[in-house]
Symmetry: C2
Subunit: 322 residues, 2 copies
């Protein structure tokens, strides 16, 4: 296998002093509802607000000196863009992020201003994204840090489950969301590396169920639609992540859009934490009873908390009386 | 003084096995902005979503058997109503909550259904609230558990700062919001009991600045307006809390409505935690630079996280495409 448990241990050593030591939270009410013990690894409290910082930093810190000198590049308008920008900044590496035109200006500005990355806009098609990125790589010798099709990134993401298992060693089950499969692959290698008996499940929106279908058919399937609220999970698997998931993950379980919102609601209203829709998908799997967890100890990777709250606070402000 | 440091230690022993051990969180970004170390005691993660459970439980568990047998009563539509209901339920005590007609049905239902309290509606005036409560006390012999004009309640609220100081012993400053003054009184007794050198500040909305004016004038002042977004802080001090605040609190600092929203925004967007406006007031005090904290270790009691998110999730649901 491309990524081993030892790779995760190595990644863990490299990144531990730089990442946030995120807390593990639980909920009395939830445990009562499900007659189980559920532990949330709060990667929404991670730097840049998502687990992605783990993988991006592990990828950047292991570059050859020649590569570091030239800089890194990726195409993303999501959490990986900010994760790579911050990781590169901390290591004094130049980062270039290719983003589609029409990306929210909040995201463009955060990536550029907060993390000092060089943002290059492309057309909103896969072709343009790929060709613009390729052109820049050829011209400047940048190293591509793919959001998940990268061993170092996968090993980095696996450290979240590794940290969770250090806090709660006797888990029966771990559930992580699956989009491109970086987090789920890393989680599975971590969990099975520590204890073969731990069941590892992927949680996926019904509307973007390529991973569930790929696992059943034994080959990579693609998505017909990507209109899920869980915008971090719209991408499909690659060979690298599929091979790991095929071997190490027990099952992929899908949930509806309403089930995702219900889970998100529970996390915000009852647990008082801001979690993005993608991060709520694993809880949706157990709240909807699609996975029975009675009597079990279950770990969930709360992947991130980057939600656009502009509108919410605008309404709040407009309510101030004079 | 009516409440002593020993009372807080006693309260702490009584309630420790029943409350949530809430985490202390910090933010790299915030510490950088302020050149200080800020520690948030997350009482938004407390049972019923606010510190109020500490005081209510301490008050119920110390009742005489005769009192317990007859039941407890309070008037509140806020966090204290749910705190008292839950505390009473856990101790098999009958609880009656007097709420004004027109209280959000969510709150009435939560108090009644989730916590099994007896809800009695009154007119939305102080006179009606008082007379309805008094009538019920005379008729049924209930014991009134006032939200803050009660020594046991104050001692219970003080355990939040006590727990915070166990986690971070060398704080220079502690800030708590002030409404009726129960939390601030308890916080001051705790902090000064552990270390006389710790500065204790109350944080208050400008629009409801009775505590700030009372502290300056040396007598209890009332509020001309109560239209602050920080709805948990609309009440004024009572003699019991004023006497403690006069003696033990260093200063009350006030902030504007916009400053409260800015602080709330930081907590939600950057720290990914759901905090109600009242809970954001202490952060507003330091973010607005009304209190200089450079180089200091500052503890903040994040008092609660009960915000109505119905509208927010309704919009999210309506955005699901078909």
């Amino acid at each position: 296998m491309s990524v081993t448990f030892d790779d995760i241990i190595e990644a863990h050593k490299r990144i531990s002093s730089v990442i946030n030591q995120t807390p593990v939270l639980d909920s009395r009410t939830l445990n009562q509802i499900l007659s189980a013990s559920i532990y949330f690894k709060c990667e929404n409290f991670q730097r840049i607000g998502a687990f992605k910082f783990r993988g991006a930093y592990n990828a950047c810190v292991t570059l050859q000196q020649e590569q570091s000198a030239k800089g890194v590049i990726t195409h993303s308008s999501g959490n990986h863009a900010q994760a790579l920008s911050l990781a590169a900044k901390l290591l004094n590496i130049k980062a270039t992020i290719v983003m589609p035109k029409g990306s929210p200006s909040v995201k463009i500005n955060a990536t550029r201003d907060t993390y000092g990355a060089n943002v290059v806009l492309c057309e909103n098609t896969i072709e343009s994204r790929t060709s613009v990125t390729q052109e820049l790589i050829e011209k400047f010798g940048y190293t591509l840090i793919h959001p998940y099709d990268n061993d170092k990134v996968i090993a980095g993401q696996g450290t979240a489950a590794y940290d969770l298992l250090k806090t709660v060693p006797d888990l029966d089950i771990i559930i992580a969301p699956v989009g491109g499969g970086g987090l789920l692959s890393g989680t599975a290698i971590s969990a099975k590396g520590i204890n073969k008996e731990i069941k590892v499940y992927g949680a996926e929106p019904e509307r973007v169920d390529d991973a569930a279908r790929s696992k059943r058919s034994g080959k990579i399937e693609s998505n017909q639609r990507i209109d899920t609220i869980a915008d971090g999970l719209r991408t499909g698997l690659c060979e690298r992540t599929f091979r790991i998931i095929e071997k190490e993950v027990d099952e992929i379980i899908t949930v509806s859009e309403m089930e995702i919102i219900e889970a998100m609601k529970f996390l915000w209203e009852r647990m008082k934490i801001v979690v993005e829709p993608s991060g709520a998908v694993p809880l949706a799997v157990i709240l909807s009873k699609k996975l029975k967890v009675e009597g079990k100890k279950v770990g969930i990777i709360l992947s991130g908390g980057n939600v656009d709250l502009t509108q919410f606070f605008k309404i709040l402000e407009s309510n101030i009386t004079i």
